[in-house]
């Protein structure tokens, strides 16, 4: 992680991501916030790429930027009479305090802890050529039970979403 390309990429992407998150917080319009959220997701995918996590990066784009953002768009559009001003509630100050506290605490811990991390050449050598097959092996090998549970969870989420939003067409439709 010492080549200039990675360093520049890290700082730029980190700035984009954190900036996007901040804009989600301060944007005055919910749809603007959504656009910045997508920007943050894309920056995050870039950060994943700098960490050699190609599959996760692409999955991040596909699921977050491509699907969840669109879901949110639909949720916003299906609630036309609700406020779209991205307003803050009364808990802004406590929330700020909590957020700053968590961020500060974790940052301090992250900086002062002597992580047994790889550096230099060892880091370069541990760079996997491809993560896809390894992830696949793990998913269907060691983690096969969580994998199945996750698929069942997805299935029930699908069912649940359909059941919740389904419009019941009955005799009372006209009333």
């Amino acid at each position: 992680m010492e080549s200039p390309g990675i360093i520049i990429a890290f700082w730029v992407l980190a700035a984009v991501t954190v900036g996007g998150c901040l804009m989600v917080l301060v944007a005055r319009n919910l749809l603007h916030a959504l656009v910045f959220l997508v920007l943050a997701f894309l920056g995050m995918a870039g950060l994943f790429v700098t960490l050699s996590a190609d599959f996760i990066a692409v999955a991040q784009i596909l699921i977050y930027a491509g699907s969840i953002a669109v879901l949110m768009v639909f949720a916003i559009m299906l609630t036309p009479l609700a406020a779209r001003d991205n307003a803050n509630s009364l808990y802004l100050l406590p929330a700020l305090a909590a957020g700053l506290g968590i961020a500060g605490l974790v940052s301090v811990v992250a900086v002062i802890t002597p992580w047994s991390e790889l550096k230099g050449d060892a880091l370069g050598q541990s760079d996997p050529v491809t993560t896809v097959s390894a992830i696949g092996d793990l998913l269907l090998g060691r983690y096969v039970l969580p994998f199945e549970v996750a698929s069942i969870l997805l299935f029930f989420a699908l069912l649940g979403a359909i059941v919740l939003v389904h419009e019941r067409r009955g005799p009372r439709e006209g009333s």
Partner: protein
């Protein structure tokens, strides 16, 4: 008495006087014809010479081997390393050159594509197409672009200015980024990433948001309707695209696009023969994704004017139109890479540069798109939705099950590839034919009963006559 009707209009006269290209060639004067013939023969001789070089293997892997520009790149990197330059310089240079290459290809297509499409459509519609500006009307796109550029860019009252400004730019990103993993020859892809297929799907899903924002921010009902239609359709048709690509991936065992091409080269078969239904699903769903006939309901002109870009004027509208063209060839590239053998053509790629073969295939797929546009009416939104959810997705899932068994057999068995892959071809063809028919019957689709000619009658009357005619049949 003159027999032939005189051509009534200047246009009709022109059509009558029009000479074909061959007639014009015969009519050439000798001092033009023979030099031309000489040049042609010389080109033929040069081709034979190059052919000898290729067969003798003098070219393989040299930097001047233009059959695969990747050779030049790797030689350049090696040379830069010899010179003691830092690797980043060599990588940056080659990356820049490759980027410029792809951008100029797509940019050149955006310039010429509208002319190609209009000329082709004109041929389908028995008319001439643009033929006034320049040779064969080739300058027409430039005239169009100039017109668009000098038009006023209007921002509608009540539009969200930021979100109105962004989409024409945002929608360009997937159209450009999608080119990265396409292999143009064995060593010649911009980023030969391991997750190429997933990357292509992910990138194409980014366009949804731009379309939605364009429609929403315009503050126009037509635009919003178009955007909602397009978004609903893109979300629905991403699933058949993913499922059909997944079938291909199961066979090839790699998400890398270049590996998919290599697999097809190894087995001397195109995926379209192995997975006909997946190829159809991909083509159909792609037309829905990129808003082309018969699925162009997002910008259905007769219903919602121009869909999500109704309110855009000037070059912003031009950008949307250009992206439509760019997406068409991007889908063509994906389609030919995944289903039509990519840069390979059963050994022809040792003679002809692979990128030319791929470009030809892209052109062929694009021609199919234009053909569809010149031929078919448009579906309705609910029909398209039910086609995706009731037809394409269930059948794709069934196909995936079949394919997973077949791919296991191909991977595990010791039988020769001809037996396993050939068997899979036969099984898939048969299953596709009967599966599609059975499924269509199961969901109650019977088009033949629908087309019925009117009843011819000699009678005249009112309601009673109408009832008699109906009862008489």
């Amino acid at each position: 008495m003159s027999t032939a009707p005189r051509p009534a209009t200047p246009m009709a006269r022109q059509i009558l006087e029009h000479r074909s290209l061959l007639q014009r060639a015969y009519a050439l004067p000798g001092e033009v014809f023979f030099p031309l013939l000489f040049v042609l023969l010389g080109g033929l001789a040069a081709t034979v010479g190059i052919g000898f070089l290729v067969v003798a293997g003098y070219l393989d892997g040299r930097w001047y081997d233009i059959r695969d520009l990747g050779n030049g790149t790797s030689h350049f990197r090696y040379w830069a390393q010899q010179q003691g330059l830092p690797p980043s310089v060599a990588y940056l240079t080659t990356a820049l050159l490759g980027g410029i290459g792809i951008l100029s290809l797509v940019g050149g297509w955006l310039v010429i594509g509208s002319w190609v499409e209009r000329r082709l459509i004109a041929k389908f519609q028995i008319r001439q197409g643009p033929n006034r500006n320049g040779l064969f009307g080739l300058l027409q796109p430039i005239a169009d672009a100039l017109k668009l550029i000098q038009k006023e860019v209007l921002i509608p009252v009540g539009a969200d200015r930021l979100l109105f400004f962004l989409p024409p730019i945002l929608i360009f990103l997937p159209a450009m980024l999608g080119w990265a993993p396409i292999p143009w020859a064995a060593k010649m892809s911009y980023v030969d990433m391991n997750v190429g297929v997933v990357y292509a799907i992910a990138i194409s899903s980014l366009g949804v948001l731009a379309v939605f924002l364009a429609g929403w921010s315009s503050n126009n009902h037509y635009a919003l309707l178009g955007a909602m239609r397009t978004v609903a359709m893109m979300v629905s048709y991403e699933i058949p695209i993913s499922l059909s690509l997944l079938g291909v991936v199961l066979f090839t065992g790699s998400l890398q696009l270049s590996q998919i091409v290599v697999w097809q080269q190894t087995y001397h078969i195109w995926m379209v023969i192995l997975l006909p239904f997946a190829a159809f699903a991909f083509l159909f769903a792609s037309t829905a994704e990129i808003n082309r006939t018969p699925n162009d309901i997002g910008e259905a002109e007769s219903e919602i004017v121009a869909g999500f870009h109704t309110e855009y004027s000037g070059m912003k509208a031009g950008l949307f139109l250009a992206v439509e063209l760019g997406n068409a060839i991007l889908v063509g590239a994906m389609m030919s890479t995944v289903f039509f053998g990519g840069y390979s053509f059963f050994g022809l790629e040792t003679w002809i540069p692979g990128y030319l073969i791929l470009a030809t295939k892209i052109g062929a797929v694009y021609f199919v798109f234009v053909w569809l546009r010149g031929t078919l009416p448009r579906f309705r939104l609910d029909q398209l939705m039910s086609f995706a959810w009731k037809f394409l997705i269930p059948l794709s899932i069934i196909q995936l099950l079949v394919v997973s068994v077949e791919s296991l057999v191909i991977a595990q068995s010791d039988l020769p590839g001809l037996a396993t892959v050939g068997g899979s071809v036969v099984v898939n063809l048969v299953l596709t034919y009967f599966g599609v028919r059975a499924w269509a019957n199961a969901i109650g689709y019977a088009p033949n009963e629908m087309a019925s000619p009117p009843i011819m009658t000699n009678g005249v009357g009112g309601l009673r006559a109408a009832e008699q005619i109906r009862a008489g049949r």
